[in-house]
């Protein structure tokens, strides 16, 4: 009886180990390689024509992506939250001639340009800081005194 119970416990422990191993394998199968950091020392310029503009791409990083046709192939460009582009009155459409400055990163084993500067025609917008961080909610922290004064006229309740 005692031995049986021990065997039962051992079998249960074995099953739990198998279950845990299966869980662990399932977790690993869902995992992606870690996204690479922004390498400010190796920025590149990507110039070409917009093939596709996706405000909420299903591919990471989360946010707006532009697929750009360049002379050497297509490049996936990440622009961060679409709201920032909207609020800044900046938009893209298929066929636009564009230029981006940024750093290539590997995201889910795919090359993605993390754009720092986006240019279209005579318009340019800063997307990221020089260290590579999205400016979406920080840009207005560095307003000029004049811009601050103007913004103060239109504040919501605090």
């Amino acid at each position: 009886m005692k031995i049986e119970m021990m065997m039962g416990c051992a079998a249960l422990a074995g099953l739990m180990t198998l279950a845990n191993t299966a869980d662990a394998q399932e977790r690993v199968s869902r995992a992606s390689p870690r996204a690479a950091a922004y390498d400010a020392n190796h920025e590149v310029v990507v110039q070409g024509t917009v093939l596709e503009y996706l405000e909420n791409s299903t591919l990471p990083p989360i946010g707006t992506h532009v697929k750009v046709q360049t002379s050497s192939g297509t490049v996936d460009v990440h622009l961060g939250p679409s709201s920032y582009l909207h609020d800044s009155h900046f938009s893209f459409a298929s066929g636009d001639s564009v230029r981006f400055v940024g750093a290539m990163s590997s995201v889910d084993k795919r090359p993605v340009l993390l754009a720092r500067i986006a240019q279209k025609g005579g318009q340019a917008i800063a997307i990221r800081s020089t260290q590579g961080f999205l400016l979406a909610t920080g840009a207005t922290r560095s307003l000029s005194e004049k811009q601050r004064a103007q913004a103060s006229q239109k504040v919501t309740p605090r």
Partner: protein
Amino acid sequence: MNTQAKRLYLLLALIPLLFLAAACGGGSAPLPPPPPPAKFSNASLAGQYAFSMTGSELCAGVGSLFTRAGSFTADGHGNITTGLEDINVCTGTATLQFTGGKYSIDGDGRGTLQLTNSTGTTNYSIVLSSTTSGLVAQTDVNVTASGSFQRQNPAAFLNAAIAGGYVFDFLGVDVNGSTVSPASYVGRFDSDGRGGVTNGLFDSNIGGTPSGQQLFPGGAFCQLDTNGAGTTFGRGTANIAGQSFAFYVVDASRLKFNGIGFPSALVGDAFAQQNIAFTAASITGGFAFLIGGSSPSGAISTAGRFTADGAGSLSSVVLDENNSGTITLLPNGTVTGMYTVDDNQFGGGSVTWTDTKSGTFSFVFYLISSSQAVFQEIDSAIISDGTFSAQTTTPISSTALAGDYVLGWNGAGSAEEDYVGQASLSSSGGLTGMTDFNQFSTGRQFFNVLLNGNLSLGGDGTQANDFTANLQTNPAATFHFTTYVVNQNTLFLVGVDTDRVIAGPLVRQP
């Protein structure tokens, strides 16, 4: 919660009872059981409460980070009678007095709060985890934020009460000229009970550049106001780690800080530190952690757990990292880890683990006690901080976790999202509840959204557990989380969906 929404809530709550009555047939059917007694009411929110939060507001037509901390007084009958807050917004900082306001608390602890000052009225959804604390999300159009509030002890509104060691964690942005960078500060200091600060140590991570442990620069202090705001609202000012703050006293064990070193903005709490000489042996057993912040890809949040042997070695490291939709799970290969606790015995230290496939993760911490610490990541240009807490030493079951919880999740999809709500876990892991949330980018505020889901515990419950939450929005939304159980009262959740980064706790209600 507006009146119409409240009615909807009551109606929806009644529907199952009506179905039950109909199913039971004629007049001889037994009466349905009475609803559970309401745990909370307007009387549950009474006295002075300190709050802090951070979020996004529309400024100059663009989303902008802002912070606030303050104190409000609730009369127990739905009225805010007075209060004070410090704000740090894109146009500067200000200290504003509340001239009025209202609140309403439902039986499940959920409710609404309105605070009125000279600039107008701000609106919030709140949920009480007890009569002394709760979670808050701002629900205004084009302004969203989230944070917490705790009942203040006015007896601690004096410098003498703020004495001894404190551990702090501040997160926000650093502005240096035109360079704006995400920033995190963690550290500790001793307050001498007269407004003076000594033994200040900190680690900053600004724009992905960790400072290493630093001494506070000269001029550190932490002093209650002498103009009446100190004794009335528990407000003070401080220079901590070279940064300027206003703070509000919760009690001698907790202070809530809001950075006033404009245009930089920081917000966070300081916690009284256990007065012991910390060593490697101070960290023994299992710990769960939850941190959040920014990376060059966007928002990031990480939750996990590890076991410390009390002598510098770590084992059983498990984590889920959501870096703007890229999900990294450990263990991926083989994980080895170690930690150190500073020789000065002030409770600072470092944690490093390496997964043979996913690379090295590095952190610093400051111990609040041998069971809790503030925790800051310092690798891979990640600016992310939060806490680690001792895990229960016994296996966790769904039955042990059954009960009522408050939820406070925040993060980002296409822009910032803040959620507060209340939900019940059944003994089989089923989740039912309701939440309010604010999605900044679309200016959409949602109230009384039904929530259901399931918690599926794996193994003994102390490792990674699957948690699904379905929001009955139109269209319906499903969030997948991994949950790390701290103990029977607290669970850490991190979202593992690729279209949003969201994280936060479930905290048991009484």
